[in-house]
Amino acid sequence: MAEQIIKPDVNFINDIIAAGGESVKKCFQCATCSVVCNVTPEDNPFPRKEMLAAQWGLKDRLISNPDVWLCHQCSDCTAYCPRGAKPGEVLGAVRKLSIEHYATPSFLGKAVASPKALIGLILVPVIIFIAAIMVQGNSFFPEGEIVYAEKFMKVPYIDVIFSAAAIFALFGFFMGVTKYWKDLTKNIEKSSNPWQKKVKGPMIAMILETVFEFMTHKRFDKCDVTNDRSKTHLFVFFGFVGLAITTTWAIAYLYGHEFFHIQKTFWLNFGESPYPLYDPMKILGNFSAVLLLAGILQVITNRRKNAEKAGSGSYYDWLFISVITSIVVTGILSEVLRLAHVRMVAYPVYFIHLVSVFFLFAYAPYSKMAHMAYRTTALVFAKYTGREVK
């Protein structure tokens, strides 16, 4: 093998430790992890080599390493690790640092990763929504029947704020993933690994295959120790898919009525919210919310149950879980409290709901939510280079 010069980055080691990989130094390179891992390829398997790179602070071998994202943190490696080095947790920390590395603007990457910046991050949507209520001249506790849209936060305000947040997030994702893909493909040229040079098949087919893979959680389901996570993640995933469809559907109701003058037909309530409970859009929304709630509660209980074997997770993990929990709990409560006419509680809860959704959307490229973009990219890349699990 050609001579290689290694440049250890001590700061990167400290970053890994601070990001939840405090066990990294315990690894003694026995390779139990690579053997018990069900999602690693046979050639150049992970996570042993990643553990070595992490101990040496070889940042460039980790940040743009697609294997880091092929890992689904099953924790099979962590359970069997003879040293308590928790490879699953270390790779989780590396993924966090990878998200932070590709974050654009980069200060947001650092802010979302740091507990110190949490208050500031929450204050942004809080101030925006308070300002919006004041500009509309609405009361914080409107009188009479509860109508969130009409009396509290009118649809155009919601649309403008969330569209802006979504565009901002999409921009962040686009910038991050573009940079990441560039690094991935740059390494193809540099790499001495033969598997990194193989390119086969049309890209679109690989993308479709990847999408099919995560729709069914085929890869995730190979986990042994924390196999239940695959199921709960499926709940959360389809909860979100259902809610995304609901949102699009609601937009169709609203603007279909406003711009195309579509009237209420059968049980399809074109027009403004709130919508009756029998409406199929409403049914889908409520069903998805329950799915999401069930999923995220299971995520929390599983994490606690598996803490001993798989590690208890970092701030970064728990921030993400908390935001989703907050969205689903305040979302369901807003509806229940509205139907129960508990005005004084309903509006503040709805306010928290808006703040939580904003938090998830606007900060998605910098939070653990970004895993959906980076993991998808890495999986497509794995197919692109023929690095597939047999």
Binding site: F28, C30, S34, V35, R83
Partner: protein, 417 residues
């Protein structure tokens, strides 16, 4: 000479015997208490042992002779210490003697075993075969007396062994006894057990017939073992010619034994030579994290390494499955140097299981404290009680003997006070 007391040695393995004879030959009276029906401990179960790679009797026989020739050693088999009270110079010790059901008239003719209708697992061979409830562990046992297993024997209602014995040596109504002794010091030499390989679920220990422990391998290779020294695999008794040795099977693993068991690397290399000496076309593959060859043992490694049919692969085996038809084993490992996850087929797998101090499960009934792993915490021992060899940390026979010799002088000092 000043008045002095007796010395009690708990455990009649190589360490205990050494401490006993060294003490006795200095003119002190010694009592040895041994739990099993024979003396010699783990060494008797080995085929060959380091450093000279001679069979167990080469060192043990001399010690047995020293025990017999010394007028100052009283020894008990099937005996366990129940209670220790007192302090240095004055310990009251209660010893429970379990019945052997065979007296000193036994000549070792095997008639009782032939007559005995009860079969039981042969613990001496680590369950590799069966033995009768009237049995002798091995042909060089000391004392050379048969024993009848109290748990499995049907008692005088059966009595077939007593009928078969021509020498009036069987006493099925023998009762347990308790004796009390007063001693000046106590040497604890209760040794070690092999780590239970059934706890290694990903390695198929206890589940797959052809996955055995390194101590079972010693018995397979031993001329007085279940196969008469032929290395045959348990599932079908076919010669096992292609064997994998899995290092650190339990050792250096916080889920099992968080320490290095010191001698397993050497044991596997030694066993590779058993295999290579027995079958010309055999292959031994040793999978390891790091090869540990303490001190001058390194030279043995150089010698073994020269054999092209012995391979060393860096990478810990973390998965073993069985081909259901052939009962061959598929070993899964990352070959770290090649950077590849590989699956390799073998006739048999030997797990280099680690040492567990006997005090992990059976504590000494006296004022002794332990490390979290069950070893005697030697530094906190009070004067008068001394631990030897593998009770303090995993060591080989040679170091146990050195330790026991050193402890002999300590126990003498305590017995003189």
């Amino acid at each position: 000479m000043a008045e002095h007391k007796k010395v009690l040695v708990i455990g009649g393995g190589f360490s205990g015997l050494t401490a006993a004879v060294e003490t006795a030959e200095a003119g002190f009276e010694v009592i040895i208490v041994e739990k099993t029906p024979y003396f010699g401990g783990r060494v008797t179960q080995l085929n060959k042992y380091f450093p000279k790679l001679c069979p167990p009797n080469c060192g043990l026989e001399m010690n047995f002779k020293r025990v017999k020739n010394s007028g100052d050693i009283t020894f008990y088999t099937l005996a366990e210490v129940e209670k220790i009270s007192g302090q240095e110079g004055n310990y009251d010790v209660t010893i429970k003697l379990s019945p052997r059901f065979v007296n000193d008239k036994c000549v070792g003719c095997n008639a009782c075993a032939e007559a005995c209708p009860v079969e039981m697992s042969n613990d001496f061979n680590f369950g590799l075969n069966k033995t009768k409830a009237a049995y002798i562990t091995h042909n060089q046992a000391f004392p050379f007396l048969y024993a009848i297993d109290g748990k499995n024997c049907k008692g005088s209602s059966c009595g077939k062994c007593a009928e078969a014995c021509k020498y009036d040596a069987i006493e099925l109504d023998m009762k347990p006894q308790t004796i009390n002794v007063n001693v000046g010091s106590i040497v604890m030499a209760t040794g070690w057990d092999i780590y239970d390989i059934s706890k290694l679920d990903n390695l198929g220990g206890g589940k797959l017939a052809n996955v055995i422990s390194n101590m079972q391998m010693e018995r397979l290779a031993s001329p007085n073992g279940p196969t008469g020294g032929k290395i045959l695999r348990p599932s079908d008794n076919k010669p096992a010619k292609n064997i994998a040795f899995v290092q650190c099977a339990g050792s250096r693993d916080e889920n099992h034994l968080p320490y290095c068991s010191y001698i397993c690397c050497m044991a596997s290399m030694k066993q590779a030579t058993y295999l290579r000496d027995q079958y010309k076309d055999s292959k031994a593959s040793i999978f390891y994290i790091d090869l540990r060859t303490p001190g001058r043992y390194e030279q043995f490694y150089w010698k073994v390494k020269e054999d092209p049919n012995v391979s060393f692969t860096k990478g810990k085996v973390a998965g073993i499955t069985e081909d259901p038809e052939t009962r061959d084993l598929i070993v899964e490992v990352e070959d770290i140097m090649a950077g590849k996850k590989i699956k390799v087929k073998f006739d048999m797998v030997v797990l280099a299981a680690g040492m567990v101090p006997s005090t992990k499960t059976a504590k000494i009934p006296g004022d002794v404290s332990y490390t979290p792993d069950g070893f005697v915490a030697a530094a906190s021992l009070k004067k008068g009680m001394y631990a030897v060899g593998t009770l303090k940390s995993p060591v080989d026979v040679a170091r146990s003997v050195q330790d026991a010799t050193g402890v002999a002088i300590k126990s003498i000092q305590s017995a003189r006070r």
